[in-house]
Each structure stands twice: as structure tokens, then as C-alpha cells.
Symmetry: C2
Subunit: 383 residues, 2 copies
């Protein structure tokens, strides 16, 4: 009786007869498979397809799959550098995720499948069996933006148990089209922090990832606007207002978390638009951040509400560097479309004899670079 019961429960749950909306299994094909030689084999069963390609492994040049037995298409990529790759299939003109892969990340309105090719920094993007921090979706009120807004907050392992300990805070800002989920999903920020802290390479710290779109309360689907199709909400934001509202965020974090509320224990960094936000915020709040990271930053960007006049740019920069931050770190890829903008900015800083560190990488305006920059920048903080 007991055995029978057990079987019926299990059968009931996984057999097609009973399977209702509660249970979903991937198709039998195993994809992706990461091979020992750092290639990745992808496969998908599409018996009637005429052409199947995969995008994502070679800077957006598609790789064609070959049809094999039982309608299963497959391909093995060239040897790949260690990294987190996002990819999608194109089956006769229909773009889709890999249906055999449960792991995806959203980028604006599209989902991509994910796979990690291990080695190097990519091992920091994979969850390891180390102590894990807590990741929370927190709502705060912003008087400056006039709304309740959502952010992602990482508190390091041990935060809940060491009730007397106070922590430094790292504010980490996303780019255009992103939101408060971008750094943690595509950027793997909390996983990277877990791993860097566990290995002693980074100090335990709180990481705050706000929504940098000053007109939005939260990521798509998390507001009363419903499950609309996101299209990158940046264009509607009032220039410069999000940067002003960083003061609300710092105030909220300092009053709700066990922070060390001074310049020496605050860092700020951002990518692309968020690099512009970082650049401008650190200038507007010269006494608040000792560590500043500009990742492929949209510096001098009009959208930041700054002009290039003496009043708008030169004097605030001079003011910021009167008590120079401990680290002003500029990073960009050689192929980044913002390369020249950053070069001009560095020339200006040189002319003003403003000290900074510069990191030039291969590649362009990519999460590959931004994850790398996070891995390089974070160990420099609060030491």
C-alpha cells in the first residue's frame, strides 16, 4: 500500500497523463555541452527546419548548425575564451532560446540562453560552494524623483550574524536599457562578490544596484504598468535627475543598513550610461565617494545634464579633486564606440593634472568587458 502510494504520487506528477501546468521538463537533447577543450556543442531537435544558426559566440556572426539523425541539428563552436556567453538560435527566421537550457538572462525585452566556459575570470562568474551573501529587492522612497523605487541590494555573507559590524558600500550602476536587475543577472555581480570575498581578494561590502532610469520605478513587470514590452526607457528620463537622486539612495542605505557612512567607505562605478551617472554623481557629491569607476563610460554625455563650460564641468572637477578620491579608475575597450570620447576626457584630465588610473582592454562595449572591469576594480576598494 505504501509503495503503491508512493509510485502513484510520483507517476502522477511526472507522467504526461497527469502533467499539468505544475511540471515542465526540457527536451531530451542535452544542450549546451561545454567540452574539455573549451568548445561548446549546441544541439536542437528541429526535424522540419531548413536552416538553424546560433548567435552569440563570435561577435554576432552566426554559426550554422548541421542536421543529423532524427532531425537533431548540432554544431561545435571554435575554442572559446573563458567567459559567460549569451546566445540564441535562429530556426528558419524564428529567434528562440535553447529549449534544453534552463538558464537565461533578460536583456531589455529579449531573453538569451547562458553558458559559462570555465577558466580565468569566468570561474568567478560561476556559483561556487562558498559562503553566500543575501540578495534583496528593496523598495525605497526617492523624494527627488517623487516615487517609490526598487533596487537590488547585496549584503555579504556574515552580515546577518555579525550584528555589531559595519560595512563599506559600493554603488554599482547599469547602462542604457538596463535596470536594477542588469548587474546581478548579466553582470553576475553578487556571484562575483561572493567569490572575491571568499578568496580574500575583496573586502566584505554591501553592493547597491539601483535603477538608473530616472523615469522608472522598477524593472519591467514590477510596477503597476503591467507586463509591457520593455524598449529601453532611458529617453524619457529628465537629464541629470537620476544623478541628483543618488543622494536619496545613499541616505536610505545609510539609515537602513549597517554602513560606515563616510567617503573612505563608499565606492561608485557604472557602465556606459551608468558610467556617465557615476562620473556626474561623483562630481556633484565630491565629499561622498573615495573610489570611482568609469566602465566604458558615457562621460560628457549631454543626458547627464552637464555642460562643458567652466561652471558645468571644470569647476566641479576641480572641486572634486581638491580632496582627491583614492581611486579614479577609467576603463574602456579598444573597439568601444565611446573610446574617443574617453580619450578626449583623459586628455582633458591630463591637462588639468588630475590623477586617475587607466585600464585599456581588448574588445568593445560588452558585458565581457564590464564583468572583467568589476573583477579588477572591486579588489581595489576600501583598502
Amino acid at each position: 500500500m505504501k509503495k503503491l502510494l508512493l509510485s502513484s504520487v510520483i507517476l502522477g506528477c511526472i507522467s504526461p497523463v497527469y502533467a499539468q501546468e505544475a511540471l515542465g521538463f526540457a527536451p531530451n537533447s542535452k544542450s549546451p555541452v561545454v567540452n574539455p577543450d573549451s568548445t561548446v556543442t549546441l544541439s536542437i531537435r528541429a526535424p522540419k527546419a531548413e536552416k538553424v544558426s546560433v548567435f552569440g559566440f563570435s561577435a554576432y556572426q552566426p554559426i550554422e548548425l548541421t542536421k543529423g539523425a532524427e532531425g537533431v541539428w548540432s554544431v561545435t563552436t571554435p575554442k572559446l575564451k573563458p567567459d559567460l556567453y549569451t546566445y540564441s538560435f535562429d530556426i528558419d527566421g524564428v529567434r528562440t532560446i535553447d529549449p534544453a537550457n534552463a538558464y537565461t538572462a533578460r536583456d531589455i525585452s529579449a531573453l538569451f540562453s547562458e553558458v559559462i566556459v570555465p577558466g580565468g575570470n569566468a570561474d568567478l562568474y560561476a556559483v561556487q560552494d562558498v559562503p553566500h551573501g543575501t540578495v534583496s529587492k528593496v523598495w525605497y522612497n526617492s523624494p527627488i524623483l517623487g516615487m517609490d523605487r526598487r533596487m537590488t541590494i547585496y549584503t555579504p555573507a556574515g552580515y546577518e550574524d555579525n550584528k555589531d559590524k559595519r560595512y563599506p558600500v559600493f554603488y554599482l550602476l547599469h547602462g542604457m536599457g538596463g535596470d536594477e536587475e542588469a548587474w546581478n543577472e548579466l553582470g553576475r555581480a553578487s556571484i562575483i562578490l561572493d567569490n572575491l570575498i571568499a578568496s580574500g581578494k575583496a573586502e566584505p561590502m554591501i553592493v547597491v544596484m539601483p535603477n538608473g532610469n530616472g523615469n522608472m520605478a522598477a524593472a519591467p513587470g514590477h510596477t503597476g504598468d503591467g507586463m509591457y514590452t520593455p524598449n529601453g526607457e532611458y529617453s524619457k528620463a529628465e537629464p541629470g535627475k537620476f544623478e541628483k537622486s543618488m543622494a536619496d539612495i545613499v541616505k536610505y542605505v545609510d539609515s537602513h543598513y549597517r554602513t560606515i557612512p563616510d567617503k573612505a567607505h563608499r565606492a561608485i562605478a557604472g557602465l556606459s550610461m551608468g558610467g556617465g551617472h557615476t562620473w556626474r554623481t561623483s562630481m556633484m557629491m565630491p565629499d561622498d565617494f573615495d573610489y570611482i569607476g568609469l566602465f566604458s563610460a558615457a562621460v560628457r554625455w549631454n543626458g547627464s545634464g552637464v555642460d562643458n563650460s567652466d561652471e558645468g564641468l571644470i569647476k566641479p572637477l576641480e572641486r572634486q579633486f581638491k580632496q582627491a578620491p583614492k581611486l579614479y579608475w577609467i576603463a574602456i575597450g579598444k573597439e568601444d564606440f565611446l573610446y574617443d570620447l574617453n580619450k578626449d576626457y583623459r586628455l582633458m584630465l591630463d591637462g588639468m593634472k588630475i590623477p586617475y588610473e587607466y585600464h585599456e582592454s581588448e574588445g568593445g562595449h560588452t558585458w565581457t568587458n564590464w564583468r572583467d572591469y568589476l573583477v579588477l576594480f572591486t579588489p581595489r576598494l576600501f583598502k
Copy 2:
């Protein structure tokens, strides 16, 4: 110059020339469209397909789409009851999410697209512009299971600001194949709680959603096991051990959150396997839970490590009801494959003169029912 710069930054970010892995947009087709008459129109561009169907709107009978202009297939469903629907396309034998829909939920190893048909309880499944609680992914140590494990914890709006206020706790358990993400994703638990609390229908409470698979530390992809293909890890768990480890969870929550740590301020409920866990845990901890919810519960389930003898079942039940809980709530659908099991259990309770409340719904073993049960059960708690 400023205008030029702005344009180049925006163009640089969204034009195909520059679009790198940072930006993804859905195809132009708008799908799904929820119509005013509670039908849903779905469409997908698949110019070369021979047959396109959608699964999910009629108890797993597929609905065929029709090919129209420019290779766009579409269909309008029959009028649908208000609910959250999960669905997927089948394009010539390839299962895929709706590429124009950014909203998905994972169910074991498969992703499904999501759409809400508004009205009735479904309005509680949609995010409303009300005060929102905080949702956290928290790691705790379980001495009984011998590992660090992850759970989802919801703290209600106001928790962070009312530092002197203490809250009741609702432990909410998932079913087979699920994990600590299931109730919040497929079950929309934190959204439902936000809405019920904001309208005054439910008390502000903490909701704890652990991982009920005693052999797993966390949902797939969140452990050192990497991004493996989940297959429902339930079969490997030692029977009864998760229920024992609920004591670790209660202890952790009472020592890390501002709870009211007594029976009158603790509820526990679960669906299917989690209903079995609830049933057994509430028997093993008779002085700890005053509100018990069995949703389509696998009661008497061998996997709970209980036998049906006097020692294993009758005496613990008598012990539990010596100080009867305030609410012992049994709910199941008429078509649920566990219907007879629950009927037998109720007959036994009747014979023992044990008081309970019974809710019988239409339908079967589905999230439709479990979300409904959550909406019915939660307002009954802590009053």
C-alpha cells in the same frame, strides 16, 4: 556638439552596427495581446513553418495558429477565465517561448511565457502600485541537513521602517520539482501578499519559502553544481528529513527577523509534496503552528517517512489536536489525482472527531488552484 554627442550615444547603443551583447530587443510582433473580451491574441513570425501551435490555454490541448501576411502566424484564444497563464509555442516540433514576450517563469527545467488575463483573483497576481515588501534570497545553515541552504523570504512593506514592530510568520512550501523560487515565481506569492496586505485583507506578515528538497542546497544554478539541467531532485531526498529540518528554519527565522515567536503567530502551508511536508511538520511540531494549510496535499505520503500505524500517525495527530490549531484547512480540486487520498484522510479525521475546514474547488493539480488557495487562506491568518 552636445546634440551630436547625444545622438551618437543613443545610435551607438541601439543600432545593429553597434549592438553587442549588451542590448536585446524583442521582435516587432506584439504578442501576447490581452483583448477586452478576455481572449488573448498570440502571434509569431515564422515564415517557413508548416505548423504552429500554442500550448497552455486549454489544459494542454494545443491551439493551432493560422499563417497570415509576411509569415506571421496568429490565433485568438477562446474567452479565458481571469488567471495567470503559462504557455509555449510549438513550431514544427520545436518548443519555444514567445520571443516577443519578455515575461517567463521556470518550471523545473523548462521556461514558459506568461500572460495575465485580468479580473477576479488574477488582479491580485498582477503587480499593483501599492507599497511593496522586500524579497530576499537568504542563505541559512541547517544542522539537521548538514549544509548551508537558500530560501526566499518576504518581509512586508514597512518592515524596514517600523523597527520596534514584530511580525507573524507564514511558512510556505512548494511541490515536487519545485524549489525556493517556485512559490514566488509561478505562485506570485510576494505580489499576492503585497496586494492582500495593501487592501487590508491580510495582516502584514513575513513569508518564508524554503527549498523543500532535503538533498538540495538551492535552486538549480545557485550551487557549486553549476548550470546543470534540473530534473526534479525529489527522489534523492531522505524521507522525512526535510520536515525535521523545518525546526532549523524556524529557529533561524526567529533569531534573524523581528518575529512573534509563538504558535499563535506561525502558519504553515504547502502544495502537493509541500502539503505532505506541511501535514507532517505540523504533526511533529504540535506546539508551533496555529494555522495549517494543506493545498492538494500528498498526505499519508510514504516519502514523508511516516507510517500509518498508531505510533506513526494516530498518536501524533491526537497529540497535535490536544491543543487544536486555530485553523486546519484542507483544499483540493475535484479533478486532482490526489482527490481520493485527501477524501480518505478527511474520513479518518472525521472518525477521530478532529476539526478541519474543507475547500473543494474545480480543476486539478494546478497553479491556478494553488494561487487561489493562497488568496483564500492568507486572509484567515493571525486574526
